[in-house]
């Protein structure tokens, strides 16, 4: 009876074999998890049985479940039981389960050592086979140490070829886990390279190639043996491995390269296997510094065939290999430009990206225009924003490569709307200004197209430059009145403040030019109409929330009103108005200003005039609503102005001047280099205090440089006995000479127009430097923080009305946190909102500023807030929730620091360290630095190769020092700061920045 029950239960168990399980899962699609948990319960029951067949069946089912992602680690011991079954079928199931489930931390693994040893030495070759395959998957350092000897025995004495081959292959895994075994085993392994059986031979090749990949130097001595194998073997797989090995060895032993060329070219000519061909080409490329031009040409030819193939894979690999050749033999690749341009039309994005990479490296003076023209066509039809962005970035990269060295035709480049033109660069194109002005005028006329896509990064920044160029070189405009009209359109008010400011200023310059031409016509009415136009349009800007715009606009408005009065009395004013803007700018190198020595006896910090008295400033102060928030007008009411206050005002003024394109035409990055207390003695900036920045104080200085520079050059020239025409003030020095060493020699290129690349004027002792970090301006930052006082932060918020209705009665409110509080007017409660001091017509944006009190700056803050407003037409109240993110970075101020001061700071020992690693940062080092500078307000102290030190200061005076190192795609940042919390948060934010790219 009992026997019957047992038998019945066994039958039941056997009912559910693997097939049933699979079917069951398929039938329970709805409640798979539930079904499987009942199955697992059954399996647990089955595992309790003594019958090995039942157990094996259960383990087999478990392996299937494991593959589907279920945890079966609890059955590890049962798996070991099944492994030790004497029946091969069960043993195989056990080993399979073990190889799928076991890993180094599985503790029962050590129970298997003896079983595996027994199986390895089993007379049954199948037992040995499963043991070896299993071991290859779950070998641990302990198993490797204990079984290394058994495996070696198999390798040397194995009577069965199959067994021998497997044990050779598995040696690599053993070496990995137990490196001590490599030395004693190596002679035997080497022996196997000459084994009569090709299978064993190829296994040995595989293992040695894998070892050599890690440390090629140790395997140089095997080169002759491999060379013999390469010329005798017919197995493509082995050949590929050997050729790959040679690819790793040739850089270590250049003579090898010469020897290899012949058999490799033979293979390239003879083989029909693409994989082998590709491997050969790759190896020739790897050793190409010692290989002949002929072989490179052959490779390029073969690669062309690959790229022309309709198979996407071959195309892709062809492009990949081509880019490797490009690095050393750019000329041989450049002749295939047409083909690579065709690849931009490919359907596969990865092929297009490879082609783009190649094009970047292929650009020369000759083909730049054509390539960019092609790329621009692709921008228009590109699908998908990522690819499009990539295209635009590449175009800009291509154009700006090595300080615009490839651009011979600036006229052309000015007409490309995407290329960013910071004013500094445009100035250096002064030779073509006539053309540039015409282009820019058209651009301004069509500005609405650009503003429409204002969100697109940086595009409207070009208007900033365009407006300036049109104003400065207004005498070259064909129709200045039309441009003037375009500059004063109401739509301009939607542009970011700093651009508006430039518009207003340059409108005045244009106005002067227009007046002059109109007065020449002796028709006084047109001139008066022009003045009227100014008077009509300027009030729009006077109302602007941006102080800069406001100030300039009201200043100019008053001027125009005065002019109008004079005009009504028939007084000719044009000459005098023009005189306001007299003088011409010459190109100035970005760093020139810094290098100007401070004249003796000039105290930069001393007031030139007596500090304005309090009452005076009271009068000037407009009764603006924001007056309180603006640093300029924020003077406290007590009569004494303390030193600190003065310093802060000076700071603010400097910042303003840096933003003012008329002030000192120095560098596009001048915003970044304004000075602060530490290291002030190093920065010899001539600072001339101007209340109305209409003149160009830099001019006499730069003239001086021109003279100095010319004198020096003349001397040089005399020495070289070169007679050159000296019509222009142009010269190539330092940087200019570098161009000659570019990949393409310059002699064979005739520029389309006779335009010299003007190297910017530099003082004599200036050293050319390479850290021309780009200054990426992002005008669309919603939140920009201006520091105000130690604990007060001014937040500019830009409100943009994107709907079709008129919005009014806006109220801005923020839920205060302990740390950060919105400053509300006296008498209002802690939860009251602040009225936004303007209304928003549809499509208009405006900026308002709010003051926050911040207790501690070491932690980032996120404040929740709401904006309530009334929609005028429907008179409904609406609400908009938002979050204000105060990052720690926003409390940092870009502060230059000199290396000796930096070193002292680090030595002082007051700073605490921390570090962070960034993986997979795929960008050139200088871009990386530029990013840190731009996003996190750091400045580069010193850069040596792939290592740079950076510095920044918080508004509370914390020093933050970074040491940035890069190797491959890994970037490590070691940082020190006197406030560890702040440092931690800043590092987190840096990490964040790079994880987003």
């Amino acid at each position: 009876m009992a026997l019957k029950i047992v038998k019945g239960s066994i039958d039941r168990m056997f009912d559910k074999n693997l097939q049933d399980l699979v079917r069951g899962i398929r039938n329970h699609k709805e409640d798979e998890a539930k079904y499987i948990s009942t199955c697992i319960d059954e399996i647990k029951q089955e595992l309790k049985q003594d019958n090995i067949a039942v157990k094996a069946n259960a383990v087999c089912k478990l392996t299937y479940l494991q593959m589907l992602g279920y945890d079966v680690s609890w059955a590890a011991f049962n798996i070991v039981e099944v492994m030790s079954s004497s029946k091969f079928t069960y043993k195989r199931i056990g080993y399979l389960a073990a190889s799928q489930c076991f890993h180094e931390s599985t503790d029962v693994i050590m129970l298997t050592t003896n079983q595996i040893r027994k199986d390895l030495s089993s007379p049954n070759q199948y037992d040995t086979g499963v043991a070896l395959t299993g071991l290859s998957c779950f070998v641990t350092p302990d198993l490797a140490r204990d079984l290394a000897n058994d495996i070696m025995t198999l390798v040397s004495h194995g009577d069965c070829v199959k067994r021998k081959r497997c044990s050779v292959l598995i040696m690599y895994k053993v070496f990995l886990k137990y490196p001590e075994s490599l030395r004693p085993a190596f002679p035997r392994l080497k022996e196997k390279l000459e084994d009569p059986d090709p299978g064993v031979q190829s296994a040995a090749v595989n293992v040695i190639c894998e070892l050599a990949r890690r440390n090629p130097k140790n395997y140089l001595s095997l080169a002759p043996l491999f060379f013999k194998l390469m010329t005798s073997s017919t197995n493509n797989w082995v050949l590929i491995k050997i050729i790959k090995l040679f690819g790793a060895l040739t850089p270590l032993e250049p003579r090898l390269g010469k020897k290899l060329i012949e058999p490799l070219t033979n293979l390239i000519h003879s083989t029909s296997a693409m994989s082998l061909l590709y491997e050969c080409v790759n190896t020739v490329i790897a050793g190409q510094y010692c290989s002949s031009v002929g072989s490179v040409v052959l490779c390029v030819q073969k690669l062309r065939i690959l790229i022309e193939d309709s198979d996407q894979n071959l195309k892709y690999l062809g492009l990949l290999a081509m880019s490797k050749i490009l690095k050393t033999h750019p000329k041989s690749v450049q002749s295939h430009k047409d083909l690579i341009l065709q690849c931009l039309d490919d359907k596969d994005e990865s092929i297009r990206l490879r082609a783009l990479d190649l094009l970047y490296g292929m650009v020369s003076k000759k083909n730049l225009m054509e390539i960019v023209k092609k790329l621009m066509l692709h921008v228009d039809k590109a699908e998908g924003t990522t690819y499009r962005d990539e295209l635009l970035t590449k175009i800009i990269d291509i154009c700006s490569q090595s300080n615009y060295q490839y651009i011979t035709n600036f006229e052309w480049s000015v007409s490309q709307p995407v290329t960013p033109h910071p004013p500094g660069i445009s100035v250096s194109w002064w030779t073509i200004r006539v053309f540039a002005v015409a282009q820019m005028a058209t651009l301004l006329d069509n500005a609405h197209l650009l503003t429409g896509s204002m969100q697109r990064n940086g595009i409207c920044e070009v208007l900033y430059a365009a407006a300036w160029i049109c104003g400065e070189f207004s005498e070259h405009l064909e129709n200045p009145l039309q441009t003037l009209e375009a500059m004063l359109r109401p739509k301009v008010a939607t542009l970011p403040g700093h651009i508006q400011a430039v518009y207003v200023q340059n409108a005045a310059k244009l106005f002067a030019t227009v007046l002059k031409s109109q007065e020449g016509n002796t028709d006084s009415t047109t001139a008066q109409e022009t003045s009227q136009l100014m008077i009509d349009r300027l009030p729009l800007f006077v109302q602007s929330a941006n102080l800069e715009v406001q100030e300039r606009a009201s200043c100019i408005l008053q001027l125009v009103k005065y002019i109008q009065k004079l005009q009504q009395k028939d007084v000719e004013v044009a000459e005098e108005v023009i005189a306001l803007f007299a003088g011409e700018l010459n190109p100035v190198a970005p760093k020139a200003q810094k290098k100007v020595p401070v004249p003796e006896g000039l105290d930069l910090d001393a007031w030139i005039n007596e500090p304005p008295s309090e009452s005076e400033s009271e009068d000037e102060q407009p009764k603006a609503i924001f007056a309180k928030e603006e640093p300029k007008h924020s003077r406290p009411r007590h009569t004494e102005v303390d030193e600190k206050e003065l310093a802060r005002r000076r700071e603010a003024r400097k910042q303003e001047q840096a933003n003012n394109p008329f002030y000192i035409k120095a560098s596009p990055s001048s915003q970044k280099v304004y000075q602060d207390a530490p290291g002030v003695e190093h920065i010899p900036v001539v600072q001339i205090d101007l209340s109305v920045p209409l003149k160009v104080p830099g001019l006499p200085m730069s003239d001086q440089y021109v003279k100095l520079e010319e004198e020096r050059r003349q001397k040089e020239r005399a020495e070289k006995k070169k007679k050159e025409k000296k019509k222009r003030k142009e010269k190539r020095s330092g940087r200019g000479k570098k161009h000659d060493s570019g990949p393409e020699s310059e002699e064979d290129i005739t520029p389309a127009h006779m335009v010299d690349i003007v190297t910017e004027e530099m003082p004599e002792n200036a050293l050319p430097s390479d850290d021309d970090d780009k200054d990426p301006n992002d005008p669309h930052k919603i939140l920009s923080l201006h520091f105000f006082g130690p604990f007060q932060v001014v937040v500019s918020v830009i409100f943009e009305n994107k709907c079709d209705s008129f919005l009014k009665s806006m109220e801005f409110n923020v839920l205060d946190s302990l740390n950060s509080k919105l400053q509300r007017p006296e008498g209002s409660g802690p939860h009251d909102g602040l009225t936004v001091p303007f209304q928003l017509p549809p499509g208009v944006s405006n900026e308002a500023r709010f003051v926050f009190t911040v207790q501690s700056i070491v932690m980032p803050q996120k404040l929740k807030g709401t904006l309530t407003f009334i929609v005028k037409d429907s008179s409904t109240h609406e609400k908009l929730d938002f979050k204000l993110h105060f990052t720690c970075t926003s409390y940092l101020i870009t502060t230059p620091c000199y290396s000796d001061a930096f070193a002292k700071l680090l030595e002082s020992g007051d700073l605490k360290g921390s570090s962070v690693r960034l993986e997979g940062v795929n960008m050139p080092f200088h871009h990386l630095l530029a990013r840190i500078c731009f996003h996190h307000h750091f400045s580069v102290v010193e850069r040596i190769d792939s290592c740079a030190s950076m510095y920044s200061r918080s508004i509370q005076g914390h020093h933050v020092c970074l040491l940035v190192k890069t190797s491959g795609q890994t970037v490590s940042i070691d940082a020190k700061c006197d406030e560890p919390t702040l440092l931690g948060n800043v590092l987190d934010e840096i990490k964040q920045t790079f994880s987003q790219c």
Binding site: Y64, L169, K347
Partner: protein
């Protein structure tokens, strides 16, 4: 060398997962999901390679598994099944692509016109085929006749 071999269907169900590197169970599942996500979005006009520095397609992979910067995935689609092999970045793409095809031809011969259900119901046999052709992340045997002969021998033992 090969890091892992995966066979998945379009829905992401695993039909075979052979690991030549040690991952823990969570990592294995994560990898299976990521590979599925990366591979299924690609169609016939794409290459059969997913290189991790192609950040567009496999950014997630490279973040989750930093070592993947040195790996790439070579895959081939047969009907509804994706055969994926993950190898070192320096390995020869075309050779492994041929390796996949060779493997599929053996399966086809062994199961007589193989279909997905064959792989499901005989999953342990598929592992045996893999083990006969690949070992310890290297190619063990490329000759189809030799592999098939060996497989028939093993079957006769059952």
């Amino acid at each position: 060398m090969i890091r892992f071999i995966l066979i998945q269907n379009r829905a992401g169900k695993t039909r075979l997962a052979k690991w030549y590197m040690q991952f823990d169970d969570d990592e294995k599942q994560k990898l299976i999901e990521e590979v599925h996500a990366v591979v299924t979005v690609r169609d016939a006009k794409h290459t059969n390679f997913v290189e991790v520095w192609d950040q567009l397609v496999s950014y997630a992979l490279s973040v989750l598994f930093p070592q993947f910067r040195n790996f790439k995935i070579i895959y081939r689609r047969y009907a509804g099944l994706y055969f994926c092999i993950c190898v070192d970045v320096t390995d020869n793409n075309l050779a492994y692509l041929e390796g996949i095809h060779n493997f599929v031809e053996v399966l086809n011969e062994y199961f007589h016109n193989v279909c997905e259900l064959d792989l499901v119901f005989n999953f342990y046999k598929v592992y045996t085929v893999v083990d006969e052709m690949f070992l310890a992340g290297e190619i063990r045997e490329t000759s189809q006749t030799k592999v098939l002969k060996q497989l028939l021998m093993l079957q006769s033992l059952e």
